[in-house]
């Protein structure tokens, strides 16, 4: 059993065969900008290097996505649409999977993750709530709300 790329390192990435051709990366960058445009606060897909380091990291954990990315890119023919709405209107079967891979790559960029306020999951020890008795008081105050097994007592339901 192999642990799949936990703590991916640069040297490990360098050792991977180049998964996408240069022309594929170029069109990935263009499509990524349609999906995730630039704003004042946020980088676009290509500015976040979706087409470089981060799509490679996606594929390192999800090699199964390579085909989906390739197929999606092949379907986006020249000339490129002006915006996402136009791309969406082409109704490409491979767009959804491609878009999800691009989104995953985008949020793997630590600068993007920081900007949206999301970090990987961290361990937070449990601190029990101390005020549950008070919080449920109005629920318990209304009494039972279930219908008992017939023959075993009065009905409590609100029906």
């Amino acid at each position: 059993m192999t642990a799949v790329s936990l703590g991916f390192t640069d040297s490990a990435r360098d050792a991977l065969p180049d998964l996408l051709r240069a022309d594929e990366r170029a069109s990935l960058a263009a499509v990524a900008d349609l999906l995730i445009p630039h704003t004042d606060q946020m980088p676009s897909g290509s500015e976040a290097d979706v087409q470089g380091e981060f799509i490679d990291r996606v594929l390192s954990v999800r090699p199964d996505l390579l085909d989906a990315v390739r197929t999606g890119l092949a379907q986006v023919e020249e000339p490129l649409p002006a915006d996402f709405a136009e791309l969406d209107a082409r109704g490409l079967s491979g767009l959804r999977a491609l878009a999800e891979a691009v989104t995953a790559a985008y949020f793997l960029n630590p600068d993007v993750a920081k900007l949206v306020g999301y970090r990987k999951r961290s361990a937070i020890p449990i601190r029990f709530d101390e005020d549950l008795d008070d919080l449920v008081a109005s629920v318990t105050g209304r009494g039972p709300i279930y219908r008992p097994t017939p023959g075993l007592g009065p009905s409590h339901a609100n029906s």
Partner: protein, 541 residues
Amino acid sequence: MQHSAASEKADVVIVGAGPAGAVAARKFVEDGYRVVCIEQGDWPDYTESHVADEYLELSAGKQWNPQPSVRQAFSDYPIDTTESDVEPLIWNGVGGSTVMYAGIWMRLMPSDFRVRSLDGVADDWPLSYEDLAPYYEQIERDFGVSGYPGDPAFPDIDAYPMKPAPIGAAGRMMAEAHNRLGWHWWPGSNAIATEDYRNQGACVQRGACMWGCINKSKASPDVTHWPDLLNQGVRLVTRATAQEIETDSRGLATAVVYVDGDGVTRRQEADLVVLAANGLGTPRLLQLSTSKRFPNGLANGSGMVGKRLMMHPFATVVGVFDEKLDPWKSVWGQPIYSLEFYETVKERGFVRGAKWNVTPTGGPQSMTAAFPWGGKSIWGERFHETVRERLGHSLAWGIVAEDLPEEHNRVELDHSTRDGSGLPGVKMIYRTSKNTKDLLAFNVDRAAESLREAGASQTIVAPMIRETGWHILGTATMGNDPGSSVVDGYGRAHEVPNLIIVDGSTWPTSSGMNPTPTIAAFSLRAAEHAVAQRGSQAVAS
């Protein structure tokens, strides 16, 4: 090359190592039985879990995906869903589908066992809430459940083994909203340890229960049962696919025939055969077990094997809030639940009801997903704005709708596909009824009302999500009448006295609750009954 080989006869052979199988195995081995369990999958490999790194959500798209057609592991058999409204979600391996479950822990309510008597539809169960109550208590200890006793929606939940997980900012907000509305809510009960408990570690609130809990806080039998059962002498055969249950001339079960990991066909003889292969796997195996005496499949004189499939159609309503809720910093499970709209109120125009629970909405990649957002495209101009509004600022009500049994909803063998061992796959034919649709529509409206009361700036409805078939029930129904049911109230097949079915396929009605506690409690009661009847049990000679 295949050849047959027999192993030493056992007292009981169980098919399936999920909760139903594990609970039965524990009861039998504690009473001195020689127990063998046949499981088609392997142990979950938590070294491949990504809950503690940045790849969590990506891994949920493949290795840790609950949909077998996405995952395509060696143990996943083909399931044709072209005629089904819902995709089945299961995990095939040690621990069963609970390896992927959320750990939400609900008993049924008394009325769930008396649907015919109380609401005039479907059937009563041949057992009552009161019959099952002591078994629930035992099961809650065995599965390390945390919760808050005293919910007035149940007769008698006086204690849980552990205190409930914090209800968190989202739970608190909804609790307060329900208090203002005068609606029921309760702190969540979950099969999630909130302190170190037996084999379980205390939860560390990564909000990632469904994708490989590396702390072993979540109670799945690969954690709570199997390590101990192996020490107690149960023989667990993994990568072994049961193909058929053999019977003798008297119609008694003699053995389970299976293909092992090397492709060798083997027979495991036993006095008792226990099926715990879930609502799809169990009818499949019965349908595969044809003989002269049982031409329509084993124990199928009633014709009910595979029929009455119930799937709990599931809706979500997401609320988007200004408040910061950081849903990835809590248990996943259920921080709180509500049974306000669970019981039948005739004026609503449908019977039965639904259970709701607050469900976290996940991290950035989930914002585009079907669960719980409905999967509508968010890319392009509104991408950043949508992410900013939703991410960390949303929560959802998950709505589990009761689904009533209908014979046309069913599971059949699909001879056009084959699993890795050469067995036919299955086909599901499943359509949601009008009652279920009306019930969901009503509950979706109420859930939006609840979220607005809590201050949601937007509500987003996913009216029925296809990829939520996590409760698979009813396909080998229990009843007192052998003419209309497959097993009795102790899971014994009417036609095969030494065949016992202990999983959710036995359910006459589905309730609107997450089913695992009741599946486990029923399995324990069935196994205990078999032990008590051992002296008079008919077995093959």
